[in-house]
Symmetry: C2
Subunit: 334 residues, 2 copies
């Protein structure tokens, strides 16, 4: 593969000049510039980013570690991160932590070895020593979707509290009194936050949440299903279930379908996270939509500010309730 030296020889100039053309430095004659370009074309020259990065200590690359690549929420997030990074001239290297701390750390290490300019992490439950050390060393790090308390790392996330309050009000208005929660893990900030907002909203509505109505899963399909089974097997099963994310909702729907129960007549369903197909299932699912694309964009901007040593304040974006038919009780129209 052609190197800068070959281009220089072919164009009859020095490597410095070729490099100047590559980085369009002003002090190069139009004529020389053209000759160099011709040489590059003739040799199919592709600059070696590895060599360049070694010299400049910048890779124009960002790392992104997401929680679970099979979760459409993260996919959408990844997409918007990708787009925004690309707009800024950065490449994104993505790692899928699969919600496991060891996988997360593996990717952190690999990405550090690759010398990414900055790192975007949706942190897993446990704070690992590696991440802690990075945070304390002031590495260009931004958390996305989830925070970890006590670390001075800027974070972009959405706040669902208001939407959850609204949702509980909606359920109450629709006559639901036995409302259960299939939440995400209490070890994740998102899990905790949604749980608290939910129980608070319940008390505010004059309802209580008996402990057996609040259960913790892992933001994946399986736990959604098993929690739903447990809830429906209770002496007094709930008449409404709020799921902590879209995958748990999917699991819950499986179980409800398997039991041949009708939504919302037998049990109402609502979900944190809105995904396209919620509109298409029968009945369409009431959900809380996060501003996913905006979160991705903000996160990239924040990270780039960190990379450039500018102040980078955390951002919290509100989620919003999208009412469909899965909680409707009065006047069911079908």
């Amino acid at each position: 593969m052609a190197r800068i030296k070959d281009v220089a020889a072919h164009a009859g100039v020095s490597v410095a000049t070729v490099s100047r053309v590559l980085n369009d430095h002003p002090s190069v004659t139009d004529d020389t510039r053209r000759r160099v370009h011709d040489a590059m074309a003739a040799l199919n020259y592709v600059p070696n980013a590895v060599a360049r990065s070694l010299r400049t200590t910048a890779t124009r690359t960002l790392g992104l570690i997401i929680g679970d690549i099979l979760n459409p929420f993260f996919t959408e997030l990844a997409r918007s991160v990708e787009d925004e990074a690309r707009r800024e001239g950065f490449t994104v290297v993505m790692g899928n932590a699969d919600e496991r701390a060891d996988e997360q750390d593996h990717y952190v290490r690999t990405l550090l070895e690759q010398r990414v300019d900055g790192l975007l992490i949706c942190p897993t439950a446990e704070l690992t020593p590696l991440v802690q050390q990075l945070a304390e060393a002031g590495a260009p790090l931004v958390f996305l979707d989830r925070t970890i308390d006590g670390l001075d790392v800027p974070c972009v996330r959405s706040d669902g509290s208001a939407a959850i309050t609204e949702l509980v009000k909606h359920l109450h208005e629709q006559g639901h009194r036995h409302i259960a929660l299939a939440s995400g893990p209490s070890t994740l900030s998102t899990g905790r936050e949604r749980t608290r907002a939910f129980t608070d909203a319940l008390s505010a509505a004059g309802l209580t949440a008996p402990p057996e109505y609040v259960r913790y899963g892992d933001f994946r399909e399986g736990s959604g299903r098993s929690i739903t089974a447990e809830l429906l097997d209770l002496p007094t099963p709930p008449d409404a279930i709020f799921f902590g994310d879209n995958l748990m909702t999917l699991g819950g729907l499986e179980e409800i379908r398997a039991r041949k129960l009708r939504i919302p007549r037998d049990v109402a369903v609502a979900s944190f996270d809105d995904v396209t197909w919620f509109r298409h299932i029968e009945p369409p699912i009431t959900a809380i939509a996060q501003p996913t694309a905006e979160m991705g964009r903000r996160a990239v901007q924040l990270l780039l500010r960190r990379v450039r040593h500018q102040p980078a304040p955390s951002a919290v974006l509100p989620a919003r309730l999208v009412i469909r038919q899965s909680c409707q009780r009065k006047g069911i129209m079908r």
Copy 2:
């Protein structure tokens, strides 16, 4: 950030020895090895993959360019590619071509600059000069999901012909006689192939496919919707529509729902690509499932063979029909 030189100094050895420890070369005393490890730990040493790659001309990185990151088919593909690559000790850098040739070429260029060891491409419609040139130069390239005729590039894809034949038979058995196709672009091998298999199967079943029943979209939601509208507006609208991928199906469902038509009573629906939520919508959608995960794994293995200069034969994996209720006409059970 600590360099190999610092580790060497700290451990009282030469850089060569540290490098040997890093690459676990056998001829290093256990004692020295320990001292070096201690030094690395003390200094929080992270080897610089950029420098290493420059020297070794290998990055242990693969590039993956997918058609559309919002399409769950590609997401699942990406996931399995990622997993398999990781298993082999490679990192994947992914680019989203968004079904556009210029975006695809942008990523090809970036990935070449980054000197990925191999490139996995789901090629867009047009063969670009860049890709052609790479193929002809014998670059370590593997096509995934789609081929481009006349290029000597190994390819991993699925073959839906048999499943499509089965589907048409199923539709015929269910009494459908006016079967339309909302296909993908005829510029893509997958689009063409599915179209041909479909029309062939139709003739085999003794049915004809009038030209107005065969329409081409772009594998995205919008075209699925508009084609469905066109089909339903025909003087003799079809009583069954087969969509070329899951996103076009999504668009079709939108339109059918908007017109308040019932599936399958008013119009039957089947989809190429199976996605989780097809099971959950009402009625569950009959679909042709591709062995997505297997395709990803095979593609990585094939690419690695190319990287290692071993023979790399193309692979074609059969897709299979999953019958649900969206085409059922006789004895609808609900």
